[in-house]
């Protein structure tokens, strides 16, 4: 999410707006990928994994370690980072979430809060609270006849996001593990009766979610500087996206992600009469939108009837 802009024009011209739309799409892509990972965990375990943002950042730091600190090439760094992330997530899953599998849902929720704290502070301890940059030479391209500029990183983010989304869709629809995840999300007991290994499916879900989070984290780290506090930032946007798009819904997570990404970037660019929302409020926009929609319309974006969405 590119940092604050300096806008001198007070007239809304298309090039001006287009820049914000682009930023919105970039941010939205990252949020969508994050939200997907969150939605998957919610589907099988029925709780919001607060540690999701930290998992994304842990992946980014792992990548940073291999790519910058060890100097490995790009692709091996990526896979090494994901492998390390997988090991960490499996340890977390087996040691903490598995023992409380049958507890009421607020237990894993609080647990994930503890884990997010643990991960974040381990990162702070190891990597210190300095912003780190993953790349120094950014190639930027002009598109739409020089009206807006887009960097190579941003192109990669957009393409990767689409690839990941399609990949996830295919995985869920066509592979055995993917179908198992869908079955367990739908009804754990029935899935078990049908012979699906529920524990293994849950572990796989964690891994897929971590893969999505880690990749989003790595992509984001290229676009902006890496800092241990980024995890909380990501987590909040991802939740807002997931809730907005109807919790547990896969397509909803994607749509929610893009809505937040676009809204964040556009709402600070659009004049409301003479008034501009200050760009420092950008981070709050996600939640303002969420609270506004939840307040006005007690059903979520997909129009689920009130008592099925809200407490019963």
């Amino acid at each position: 999410m590119p940092s604050t802009f300096c806008y001198t024009s007070t007239v809304m011209d298309p090039a001006f707006l287009a820049k914000f739309v682009l930023n919105g799409l970039i941010a939205g892509s990252l949020y969508a990928i994050l939200a997907l990972g969150l939605a998957l965990i919610y589907g099988v375990l029925r709780f919001v994994n607060i540690a999701h943002g930290e998992i994304a950042i842990t992946g980014a730091y792992a990548f940073y370690t291999f790519y910058i600190l060890f100097g490995w090439p790009l692709i091996p760094s990526f896979f090494a980072a994901i492998a390390v992330l997988f090991i960490i997530v499996i340890i977390i899953e087996k040691c903490t979430f598995l023992p409380v599998r049958d507890a009421p849902p607020h237990i894993p929720l609080i647990l994930s809060i503890g884990i997010s704290l643990l991960l974040k502070n381990l990162l702070l301890l190891i990597y210190q609270p300095y912003a780190r940059s993953l790349t120094t030479n950014v190639k930027s391209f002009a598109i739409f006849s020089d009206i807006i500029r887009i960097t190579d990183i941003q192109i990669i983010i957009l393409i990767s996001s689409v690839v990941l989304m399609l990949g996830l869709w295919a995985f869920l629809k066509y592979t055995r593990s993917g179908k198992a995840i869908r079955a367990v999300s739908d009804n754990k007991e029935v899935a078990a009766i049908l012979g699906i290994n529920v524990n293994r499916t849950i572990t796989i879900t964690f891994l897929v979610s971590a893969f999505l989070a880690g990749t989003a984290g790595i992509l984001a780290a290229f676009d902006q500087n890496l800092h241990p506090n980024l995890g909380t930032f990501f987590a909040i946007k991802a939740f807002a996206a997931v809730i907005l798009g109807s919790i547990g819904s896969i397509p909803g997570a994607v749509i929610g992600g893009y809505i937040i990404g676009l809204a964040e970037n556009l709402l600070i660019a659009i004049p409301f009469g003479n008034f501009y929302i200050p760009s420092s409020y950008k981070d709050a926009i996600a939640f303002f939108i969420l609270l506004l929609i939840l307040y006005i319309k007690p059903t979520d974006l997909f129009g689920k009837k009130a008592e099925e969405v809200i407490r019963n």
Partner: protein, 251 residues
């Protein structure tokens, strides 16, 4: 006057009609059973009547008044009590506390904490003890509800409903999973409710239970009432037999 009237009731879940233009009436001070194959919409019917689930169209009349627009808690205050298929007691509260929460004269508003409630509570406690005595749980009054056996929890939930002093009781599978002694106790509770002028509607699969106890039986299938009548009329009704593909006598 029919204490409960359902007209053209519809409830959909996604594309499926769980209740499909259902109509029936329940006479006051009667014992009626609601039966039907699994998935017929019986528990959904209870959910919709009590307001835990919102119906999509149709009317619900309680004592001739439409209650469809009322939230669940208001409908219950009007005099409808309900037990659930999956037992819904308050697990970490004691048996006594479970019963006491049912009393309508509980001084449980927020502002009541500023008024003296000890004497009033004492009287309610004694009353609650009596209710527990009726189901032989008075010795376990101070144990948490979750530590009771399945059957005891079931009795507790039923007694808690009785303690609300409602006029209409909706019992969802009260006989499921209980042994003969407890079944006997439950039957006595129902008979006593009838004596006190209450109305009882029971959803059940245990056909002996249904046929022995009910004055009227309503059969549902695919969300719609398909037959109504006395137990013997229903037993010989070809539509009913068809719906069940052979009436089962459990126990």
């Amino acid at each position: 006057m029919p204490i409960l009237k359902i007209q053209h009731l519809v409830k959909r879940f996604g594309g499926l009609s769980a209740i499909n233009h259902c109509n029936f009436e329940i006479t006051e001070n009667s014992i009626t059973s609601l039966i039907g194959p699994n998935g017929a919409g019986k528990t959904t019917m209870f959910d919709v009547i009590t307001g835990l689930s919102q119906h999509d169209s149709g009317e619900i009349y309680f004592k001739e008044n439409p209650i469809g627009a009322l939230p669940a808690y208001k409908r219950c205050r009007l005099g409808i009590a309900r037990t659930h298929q999956a037992i819904r007691i308050f697990p970490e509260l004691t048996a006594l506390e479970n019963i006491m929460l049912a009393f309508k004269s509980n001084k449980e508003s927020l502002f009541d904490i500023f008024t003296p409630f000890k004497k009033h509570q004492k009287k309610l406690k004694e009353k609650a003890f009596e209710y527990l005595r009726m189901i032989n749980l008075h010795e376990k009054a101070h144990e948490t509800a979750i530590s009771l056996s399945y059957g005891q929890q079931k009795l507790l939930e039923i007694m808690r409903a009785v303690a609300t002093d409602a006029d209409l009781f909706l019992l969802d599978e009260p006989a499921a999973g209980v042994n003969r002694t407890m079944l006997h106790t439950i039957i006595n509770i129902i008979k006593r409710l009838k004596q006190e002028g209450k109305t009882i509607v029971i959803v059940e699969h245990d056909m002996n239970f249904v046929m022995d106890l009910s004055e009227k039986v309503i059969v549902m299938d695919y969300g719609k009432e398909i037959a109504e009548g006395t137990p013997s009329e229903i037993q010989n009704n070809p539509k009913v037999l068809e719906a069940y593909l052979g009436v089962k006598h459990t126990n």
